[in-house]
């Protein structure tokens, strides 16, 4: 039995309010972060960094932002792509228009810009709910798609509408190699995940969840719906905006509005639902599932085909990828409608009880 919390007593409320109340969890996560920061750079190759790990980290950050809004505050959004775009383009404009603008500051300001628009587009949520709101947020998405294509100022009048960034440098550190880019993203992700965790275990997080679960009752106990909803929009958009800036600056290097299209919005929402709404961990599971699985299938299927002696055509692979990907989504939701994170915690619960069921 590897997983046991017996004998771990908490003697103060502070201890009980730790992020991980079970020591194994704490060491596991700390170990994971340490491994990500120290081990991975030695183990992974360039392909892994560039094509898998960096996008995974950045999208996990964005998914985290979406999760704050959708999972914690219950406001379904399909406009996340737009906020990524706002973050990216705002950061870009800060970089090109302000001399000597430090990179990290520009990114954070990108996040702030996104937060501003988040509040603006969050206003309808005060009246409109659920799926109606989800579809209404598409207005933000298409409006932004359009604005970044059509209004030259945002792209510094680049003829094609595509923008790119020059050198990346933060605090004298030139971020050039994939490893450096990876670490740069990792720092953002770890810090932001911690912030998110803090918020969700504090009063603001409870306000969001209360609004999510039953807004009338929340109001009756003194939660201001406007503050709770708009703060969720702001914080979530801030996260997403920063992720957008990372996506543009660090991952793509050069981008056009299509990089933040409505498909991206959907993708982020998938991550949250598959990973687990209202779970920080879930955002990471979801991002891993959505980013890595297609890549994995894409490479694994030809290999599998090779084993049984059939060569699968590229189209065949992509179609199979669609089918398997879709089926897995369905499968996991049937097994556990609350997402991978819940599946994970049930598995832990079983381990804890093992070998005695129930």
């Amino acid at each position: 039995m590897i997983y046991r919390e017996n004998g771990q007593f908490k003697t103060s409320y502070l201890a009980d309010q730790q992020i991980f109340t079970i020591a194994q969890d704490k060491w596991f996560v700390l170990g994971l972060i340490a491994f990500a920061a120290i081990g991975v750079p030695f183990l992974a190759d360039e392909y892994l960094f560039r094509a898998v790990l960096i996008p995974f980290l950045v999208l996990a950050l964005a998914a985290l932002g979406v999760n704050l809004l959708v999972g914690y505050c219950g406001q379904i959004t399909l406009g996340a792509g737009a906020f990524m775009a706002i973050g990216a383009y705002a950061a870009y404009n800060f970089m090109v228009r302000v001399d000597g603008m430090p990179l990290v500051l520009a990114m954070l300001l990108g996040g702030v810009a996104a937060a501003g628009f988040g509040i603006l587009f969050g206003i309808p949520s005060l009246r409109v709910r659920g799926l109606y709101l989800a579809v209404a947020t598409l207005a933000a998405q298409f409006l932004c798609d359009w604005a970044f294509l059509r209004i030259g100022w945002f792209t510094n009048n680049s003829a094609s509408g595509s923008v790119s960034v020059a050198k990346l440098e933060a605090f004298g550190w030139v971020i050039n190699t994939p490893v450096e880019k990876y670490l740069f993203c990792l720092i953002f992700v770890v810090v932001f995940a911690l912030l998110a965790k803090n918020m969700t275990r504090a009063s603001i997080g409870r306000q969001w969840m209360a609004i999510r679960d039953m807004d009338v009752a929340a109001e009756v106990i003194g939660i201001r719906p406007m503050y709770a909803k708009l703060s969720a929009f702001a914080v979530s958009s801030f996260f997403i905006g920063v992720a957008g800036a990372l996506w543009g600056f660090v991952h793509l290097g050069s981008w056009e509005p299509a990089a933040f299209s409505v498909d991206r919005s959907f993708q982020l929402l998938f991550m949250v639902i598959i990973g687990g709404m209202g779970s920080i961990m879930g955002s990471f599971f979801g991002a891993a599932f959505i980013v890595i699985l297609p890549i994995f299938l894409n490479q694994f299927l030809p290999f599998l085909g090779g084993l049984v002696g059939v060569t699968v055509s590229t189209a065949g692979i992509s179609h199979a990828e669609f089918i398997i990907f879709g089926s897995l989504i369905i499968f996991f939701l049937i097994v556990e409608p609350h997402g991978l994170a819940r599946l994970w915690s049930i598995a832990k619960q079983k381990l804890r009880l093992w070998p005695f069921p129930h």
Partner: protein, 273 residues
């Protein structure tokens, strides 16, 4: 929760002391389209008393509570709170004035644990801003712990320690009602509105619940407004009872007066009581 948190005088056993009128409802009328939920109802609530509202189904009892805490806005009538006319207000403002409530169809936050549910009740009293909370710096952490202590007191008081960390969705009905009460208590309200807190409980559990209600009233001096269909409970623990029927007031007075009021017997109690 200790007495120190509320300066109410400990009521002496038996000789209960009522304060002044804290809430005065005057000629309240409430309509939903064609449905008249409340018609010209007036009654008052005194400090520290247990005020029961009874009446047949659909009489307008829950609507009355909704009026008091700002969920419904009556078309006519005045609400005087501590002698001042209260303007049209949203529920969260009523909460700020110290009005808390529980719900007939339990309205807990299903996705949260029992502790978190009760902690939301402390929300109004938590002052740290979003940035402090995000950074989890000293002030925020201390505040969190201070309030957590309060909440633990309530948990102890309601004897729900063992389910602290359970998600409320999975709890049986009766315990959910208790958590609902805990959440309202956490607000340290001046007026506590209870909508059928004992529905779906057996006698033993009702006894527990009565005990909690009376203790709240005694220890914290909280004013309690109670809706309940169990006449035994109402008659035993309330100080004054108002009776509604079809949105109209048909009786008001001490339990004994109400019990012997013929209108009330016809409309609600039946001759069995």
């Amino acid at each position: 929760m200790t007495n120190a948190s509320n300066a109410a005088p400990a009521a002496a056993q038996g000789g209960r002391k009522f304060g002044d009128v804290i809430l005065d409802l005057q000629n309240i009328s409430l309509r939903f389209g064609g449905v008249k939920a409340l018609t010209d109802i007036s009654f008052n609530i005194r400090e520290h008393e247990v005020r029961a509202i009874i009446g047949p189904n659909g009489a307008g009892k829950s609507s009355m509570l909704n009026v008091i805490n700002g969920v419904y806005h009556p078309q006519e009538g005045k609400i005087m709170f501590r002698g001042q006319e209260r303007k049209k207000m949203e529920p969260h403002m009523a909460a700020k004035q110290g009005i808390a409530r529980t719900f007939q169809n339990i309205a807990l936050f299903k996705g949260m644990s029992v502790l978190d549910n009760i902690m939301t009740g402390r929300n109004l009293r938590m002052k740290c801003n979003l940035f402090q909370q995000a950074l989890w710096i000293g002030a925020a952490r201390n505040e969190e712990i201070a309030h957590r202590e309060k909440v633990e007191e309530i948990v102890d008081f309601l004897e729900i320690q063992h389910i602290r960390k359970t998600a409320v969705g999975a709890l049986p009905y009766g315990l959910q009602k208790r958590v609902d009460l805990g959440r309202a208590l956490a607000m340290e309200p001046e007026i506590l509105l209870l909508d059928e807190p004992m529905a779906g409980m057996n006698v033993e559990e009702k006894q527990d619940m009565c005990r909690f209600i009376l203790d709240i009233s005694d220890q914290f001096g909280t004013t309690i407004v109670l809706i309940e269909h169990d006449m035994g409970v109402v008659m035993d623990i309330s100080d004054r009872v108002v009776v509604l029927d079809y949105g109209k007031k048909i009786g008001d007075g001490t339990p004994d007066e109400v019990r012997n009021n013929q209108d009330v017997i016809n409309a609600y109690l039946g001759s069995g009581h």
